[in-house]
Amino acid sequence: MENALLVGLSRQMALSHELDIVANNIANLNTTGYKADNTLFAQYLMPDARDDDFAGKDRRISFVTDRASWINFAPGAIQRTGNPLDVAIDGNAYLAVQTPRGVRYTRNGALVTNASGQLVTSEGYPVMGDNGPITFQNTDHNVIISQSGIITVQEGNSIGDSQRGRLQLVSFDQQARLEKDGGSTFLAPPGVNPGPPALGVRVVQGAIEKSNVNPVGEMTRMLQITQSYTDIANVLQQQSDQRKNALNQLSQTPASGSA
């Protein structure tokens, strides 16, 4: 009798988690380089009763568990900004960023320079080049970032280009295992190793990648969540009413042999 209540509750808890994830996606509708989260639910089957002596077979009960959230790594739209230090990555690769917590990976290419001329993220963490952080000189101008991430500048009055390094672009063999670490960065857990960028990856200068959240999809999901939540609440209510009725009716049956 209590099973319906518990099954319903398991679904409600899963739905509440899902709404949290949808809320986060919608909050990040305009976050550069943001990748949407999705949920994955699974059936959890109660183990059978062990006793084989029952005449009828014990019915298995299935609960809902939120199995996982997975990240949608689909590319976001590329928006032109015209800033020479904004880069968008076209293709499946990441920029490596040196944070105090270790190396993190990001697709947020809204870069700036810091006091010592180093190329850093909006949070001030150095962006890694193939040979460590990329540093500009005071007289550098006309920054050009090539499709393969090579950064060239014109220094002082010289007409020729001088190279300042090359953006370290990495791809992952098991991209799905990347964890979000806040600040639009991803963390590679042990066993997930960064490798050279995939074929066809190119850097687009003067543009940024927008969030890949699909607002229509998220709104639909949200409506479904609230609807299911209410439906289940109704089921629970009916269960409760049913039990109340049963108790009422049973109590009215005259007990045999009492007279």
């Binding site: 739905l15 988690h17 709404l19 809204a110 320079t113 005071n138 014109q154 002082g156 607002p215």
Partner: protein, 262 residues
């Protein structure tokens, strides 16, 4: 319910986005104005079920986990340092910059500010000043009664003095360049100051060292693109609305739950 707080961060971020857009639209016709863009990042994640955790005694590893994000934050409002279109005014002291570089302005407190607004005037002593009366560096003084003021592409200023038929060079406009224009700090009145993020100012002659050239009799319009701003405004407003819908949804779910206990 976490969704409530998450949606609140989203609403705050979109509120800021609308503020930035409002600033841009208000300055659509401000000479030398550079439009701003709000830059957002996602907040910390709670790992309800960590990726790579042991799933069973047999050493199975969870390929995916449960990550619950907690919303969005604003990291900055960088400016778009693209060239604004040039409008002809015919005023000899209106000077527009084509390309990179900034005019250097001496502030009353002795510090330097930088501007792209080249709508200059002359003060009582014939010195070239901004519309607010601050001196353009290096100081150029136009002698009284002289005619035919010209500014060439390299910034040389020449006039024909009274009683003369040939023009003579009076002075030179310089342009200051920065490694990261977006790192300049805006102080209002079209003026910017250097910050650690912008790099050290590099003074130079227009047309050299990567600096742009000058165009007399024109002004650089604001680089705000009306269509982009309006479409961003619509997007921000809708995003705000969607976040508020999340609040409603979370509220509805809480209400459903509380109604269960009758």
């Amino acid at each position: 319910m976490r969704a409530l707080d998450t949606a609140a961060t989203g609403m705050a971020a979109m509120d800021l986005q609308v503020q930035v857009i409002a600033g841009n639209i208000a300055n659509m016709t401000t000479t030398g104005f550079k439009s701003q863009r709000a830059e957002f990042q996602d907040l910390l994640y709670e790992h309800v079920q960590r990726i790579g955790a042991q799933a069973s005694d047999q050493g199975n590893i969870l390929p995916v986990g449960i990550e619950l994000g907690s919303g969005v934050k604003t990291v900055g409002t960088p400016r778009l340092m693209t060239q604004g279109s040039l409008a002809q005014t015919g005023n000899p002291l209106d000077v527009a910059i084509q390309g990179t570089g900034w005019f250097k302005i001496l502030m009353p407190d002795g510090t330097f500010s930088y501007t792209r607004d080249g709508s200059f005037q002359m003060d009582s002593q014939g010195r070239v000043v901004t519309a607010e009366g601050n001196l353009v560096q290096p100081t150029i003084t136009v002698p009284q009664g002289s005619t035919g003021l010209t500014v060439n592409q390299q910034g040389q200023v020449s006039v024909t003095p009274t009683g003369s038929t040939t023009s003579s060079i009076l002075g030179q406009f310089t342009l200051t360049t920065f490694i990261n224009d977006a790192g300049l700090q805006a102080n209002g009145s079209n003026l910017f100051t250097a910050t650690p993020a912008s790099g050290t100012p590099q003074d130079g002659t227009p047309g050299t060292n990567g600096a742009g050239t000058l165009l007399q009799g024109s002004l650089e319009q604001s680089n705000v693109e009306a269509v982009t701003e309006i479409s961003n405004l619509i997007a921000a407003q809708r995003a705000y609305e969607m976040n508020s819908k999340v609040v409603t949804a979370a509220d509805q779910m809480l209400q459903t739950t509380s109604q269960l206990a009758r």
